[in-house]
């Protein structure tokens, strides 16, 4: 099936990816782990979507589910349409034609994501040979060009080097070169800078943005760092407990956060602009158990603004009044009177320092 998908026309402009009610469950002996539990969104060609969440929010599982890179004990349901084509029911053999060619992925830790025993050149050439059928020579030349594209000096020499001979940032560049090799239309970047130093992080994010613009490629940037997504995405999806809890264009989200979770997260991060010893807001407790998620809103047990209804009823995704592209899942969103009333109390407490160390 995949052949027509990669036909000359490539993927048209417009919607590249449509995800509908996607669920990914893992069978474990503790029970079913609902790692992704009903996520829907769509992504335009050439756009960058940031997926933000804490560990265990399902953000990584989401990207791998779409990509189809899941272990055998995963059960997927729902729909993933890539360029109009349903790809969720494809098996690994069929997906191989899409992997690397249509979608590719950059992983978190460049130190362990390259094969330590294979020369850089060969690793870059591999997808070229698999998908484009290039011979060794052509593949090597293309690989060298790709390395130059990701601003690696002395590209030719690098082809014959092994990963351990490169620094972390260089390796991540190589990873990007590999991901770009066959000109995919969708790139998953799964925490691409978490393992890197802050100065290098900036370089890599810049590189991904540059490649995206040059190739008119869509990017799904998975991260826990709100700062990272703020500057490098068009849209942001916030995940919590396997659910999408808020999604909006980047500017809109930061301007009009609706989800108390997003808001709390934002407030718990120390910011450079704040003076020293600024009291941080804390989110008590820990993320939900995905085997036995709480009833109602999954954030409710940790939510300072939660009321009875939140513990009883699961809030649906609703569109915000500020923008048609802004959706959130909350009964008492930021800006609602219930929220504002409680928020005043909380801010009071924080400044007076009553709340010590966020009990459970």
């Amino acid at each position: 099936m995949s052949t027509h998908l990669q036909s000359e026309g490539r993927v048209p402009e417009g919607v590249l990816l449509e995800v509908d009610d996607l669920k990914t469950h893992f069978r474990t002996e503790r029970g079913l782990v609902r790692a992704v539990d009903g996520v829907s969104f769509s992504l335009q060609r050439g756009k960058a979507l940031g997926v933000v969440g804490e560990s265990g929010s399902g953000k990584t599982v989401l990207s791998r589910t779409i990509m189809g890179l899941l272990p055998s004990n995963a059960v997927r349901s729902g729909s993933v349409r890539f360029a109009g084509q349903e790809i969720l029911d494809l098996d690994a053999k069929q997906m191989r034609h899409i992997w690397g060619r249509e979608m590719s992925m950059v992983f978190q830790n460049p130190m362990v994501s390259l094969n330590p025993l294979m020369k850089i050149g060969k690793q870059i050439a591999e997808p070229l040979q698999i998908h484009l059928g290039l011979d060794n020579r052509a593949a090597a030349e293309t690989a060298e060009r790709l390395l130059r594209d990701v601003h690696i000096p002395e590209a030719r020499k690098r082809l014959d080097q092994y990963p351990h001979e490169l620094s972390g940032g260089m390796r991540q560049r190589v990873m990007i070169a590999i991901a770009m090799a066959c000109g995919p239309t969708l790139l998953f970047a799964d925490e691409p800078t978490t393992a890197l130093d802050v100065t290098v992080q900036a370089q890599i994010l810049e590189l991904i943005g540059e490649q995206r613009r040059e190739r008119n490629m869509s990017v799904i940037l998975v991260t826990h760092d709100l700062g990272v997504v703020a500057g490098h995405t068009d849209e942001i999806a916030v995940m919590y407990g396997g659910r999408l809890v808020e999604k909006a264009p980047t500017r809109e989200l930061f301007a009009n956060m609706r989800m108390p979770y997003t808001k709390s997260l934002m407030r718990s991060i120390p910011k450079l602009d704040d003076p020293s010893h600024t009291r941080l807001l804390t989110i008590p407790g820990r993320p939900p158990d995905l085997v036995n998620p709480p009833r109602g809103c999954r954030f409710a047990p940790r939510c300072a603004y939660a009321r009875d209804r939140c513990h009883q009823e699961d809030p649906p995704l609703v569109t915000a009044d500020t923008s048609p592209d802004h959706v959130y899942a909350c009964w008492y969103p930021v800006g609602s009177p219930e929220f504002e009333a409680r928020d005043a109390e909380i801010m009071e407490q924080i400044t007076t320092g009553v709340e010590v160390g966020g009990r459970r």
Binding site: F26, T28, E29, R30, V33, A35, E54, S55, G56, T60, V61, R64, L69, P71, S72, N73, A74, Q108, T194, A195, H224, R286, P287, D289, L290, V291, N292
Partner: protein, 303 residues
């Protein structure tokens, strides 16, 4: 910085996320029925060996010639559960009696190895420096002899009684046990909790006994079970070469006695009985050891 999973369920999810399917969680989280069957067998065989004289077994040395059955060896039957050997002796009771030497040697050797090897290994791993270098080299030297060759060498130079055979095998287990103890100690002594205890003022002795020992003991315990199996097999091999405890039955000796081409051809049961029991015992020990190791490994990973 990596996100740290905070709940077991998340951990499960993270483990699962890693591409290749991992060991089934069910079989790793609990010791499992298999473990208890294995332990049951070990207990059974130990009890049988201990109580052999009171079990109403046939005399292992008596020739129970039964003219009705023709010329021995007799095949397994109600009278001879495992059959008899060429000399009309009951293979079953001989196997049970043979367990005594095999088990004593197995457990004593391992105990000796644990005591000396474990202590030396822990000291070396903890103190490092020249002591470590010397001990490591000694271990290396001992390990570069094939163990059986060394065992033969020692047993041949000494009298071959129960004490020397067990002692020899115990001596041989010092190096492997010690190496593991050392490696585990090093691994743990680099953990921050040891640093923390040290900065809190704990002295070396306390660090070793309170902080390291409980952590080292667990992998060592798993190793000990495997080691008992190895020692039993080693005794068997010595006995098979005619170099184990003289004048007493052990499994290796019984197998040796049934291993001649002729007897193997005519009466395979003479060797198969003891082979079977030895096999089950070694299997049980290996299995139990492996389970224990896996069980604690998982808990380790959960930290």
């Amino acid at each position: 910085m990596s996100d740290l999973p905070e709940s077991p369920a998340l951990l499960a999810a993270d483990v699962i996320l890693e591409d290749a399917p991992s060991e089934s969680m069910a079989s790793r989280r609990t010791l499992g029925i298999g473990f208890w069957i294995a332990v049951g067998w070990i207990v059974l065989i130990v009890l049988a060996a201990l109580l052999a004289p009171y079990l109403g077994l046939k005399d292992p040395d008596e020739n129970y010639i039964n003219r009705d059955l023709g010329r021995p060896p007799y095949p397994p039957s109600g009278e001879f559960w495992f059959g008899s050997d060429q000399d009309a002796r009951d293979v079953f009771s001989r196997t049970i009696y043979g367990a005594r030497v095999s088990l004593v040697v197995g457990f004593a050797a391992m105990g000796c190895g644990m005591l000396f090897g474990g202590t030396l290994g822990m000291l070396a791993g903890f103190l490092r420096g020249w002591f470590d270098r010397v001990i490591s080299f000694v271990f290396l030297v001992l390990l570069s002899f094939p163990a059986l060759v060394l065992a033969i060498l020692i047993t041949s130079l000494l009298d071959r009684n129960l004490r020397t055979v067990a002692g020899t095998l115990g001596f041989l287990s010092i190096a492997p046990v010690g190496r593991l103890a050392r490696a585990t100690t090093i691994q743990y002594s680099e953990r921050e909790f040891v640093l923390a205890a040290r900065t809190l003022g704990a002295k070396n002795g306390r660090l070793m006994i309170r902080e390291l020992l409980p952590n080292v003991v667990i992998p060592m315990g798993a190793l000990a079970l495997l080691g008992v199996a190895v020692a039993i097999v080693a005794e068997g091999a010595l006995a098979f070469l005619g170099l184990s405890v003289e004048q007493e039955l052990s499994w290796g000796k019984l197998i040796l006695l049934g291993s001649g081409t002729n007897i193997l051809q005519d009466a395979p049961w003479v060797s198969m009985g003891p082979i079977f029991v030895l096999f089950l015992t070694v299997l049980a020990l290996n299995f139990a050891g492996d389970r224990v190791r896996e069980y604690f490994d998982v808990r380790e990973n959960m930290l």
